[in-house]
């Protein structure tokens, strides 16, 4: 069905936008928080952490990407199931692991790579299901 195909394509495009923005944002957050150092869970420690995060340019760029993630997430949720979008977005783990290895020089074990493969298979399974199973405002599911 043409409308079903269109629904899948636009859902895929928005999920891709979500994944790219979320990964770039998370990676920049990690870089920014590493510059700030470990946060102490005391009122003064939290206040100091807040001041430092607000003053960090890296954190603001991260927030820019995370805003892009939020906007694409909100848009896709206006037509697609939460239980479809949420796991479909998990294919970003493969990208995240790769980015963590390349840019943050974190070591990744074979077991962790296997986990990434399982996640990708799971995402493919979810991707086979119908993106929408509930009615959207002003519309009835066929």
């Amino acid at each position: 069905m043409a409308s079903e195909r269109r629904l899948r394509i636009k859902t895929l495009v928005m999920v891709l936008a979500m994944v790219v923005c979320a990964n770039a944002g998370d990676l920049l957050l990690k870089r920014g928080m590493s510059q700030i150092g470990a946060v102490r869970l005391t009122p003064s420690g939290l206040a100091q952490a807040f001041r430092l995060t607000v003053a960090s340019g890296t954190i603001w760029i991260a927030i820019f990407f995370l805003t892009g993630f939020m906007l694409s997430y909100m848009t896709v949720l206006s037509w697609a199931d939460y239980s479809y979008v949420m796991p479909a977005g998990a294919f970003g783990y493969a990208l995240l692991t790769l980015l963590a290895v390349v840019f943050l020089h974190e070591s990744v074990s074979p077991r962790r790579w296997f986990g990434v493969v399982l996640i990708c298979v799971g995402v493919l399974l979810v991707g086979q299901t119908k993106p929408r199973t509930t009615a959207v405002a002003g519309e009835v599911v066929a």
Binding site: M74, S83, M86, A100, L125
Partner: protein, 123 residues
């Protein structure tokens, strides 16, 4: 260890609760007519006037702050995958709160994602 589990619990419950509230709000808002700047801005304007959206935002802010704290303690390749236990919590919420139909294939996919996440988190 306890502080990591506590922050992770706040992260998962905050993000799942917030996302379910926002999904409810977005469904009530309805999808944008076209994916173009003007239509998207109008869509966002409608979304901002929805109470469910504003119920979700503080929960997501709480989960975001937990994420910041966790990222200052642990490597990103541990924090982000570990937080993905929210997939099961979120799927249960989607079924029982949002009334979505979770087919066997979707559950199988979610459980595979979680098994993968457990492996990734274990290192």
């Amino acid at each position: 260890m306890m502080r990591v589990i506590l922050a992770l619990t706040v992260l998962i419950l905050g993000s799942t609760g917030g996302e379910i509230a926002i999904t409810h709000g977005m469904k009530a808002t309805g999808e944008p007519a076209r994916l173009r700047p003007l239509e998207l801005l109008q869509f966002l304007g409608r979304a901002m006037r929805n109470g469910w959206f504003w119920a979700g935002v503080p929960l997501m802010a709480l989960s975001f702050y937990s994420l910041l704290i966790l990222l200052s303690w642990e490597p990103i390749s541990l924090v982000i995958p570990a937080s993905a236990f929210s997939y099961v919590v979120g799927t249960l919420g989607a079924k029982y709160i949002l009334g979505e139909q979770i087919s066997t294939a979707r559950w199988a996919g979610v459980l595979l994602v979680c098994a993968g996440v457990a492996l990734v988190a274990a290192g």
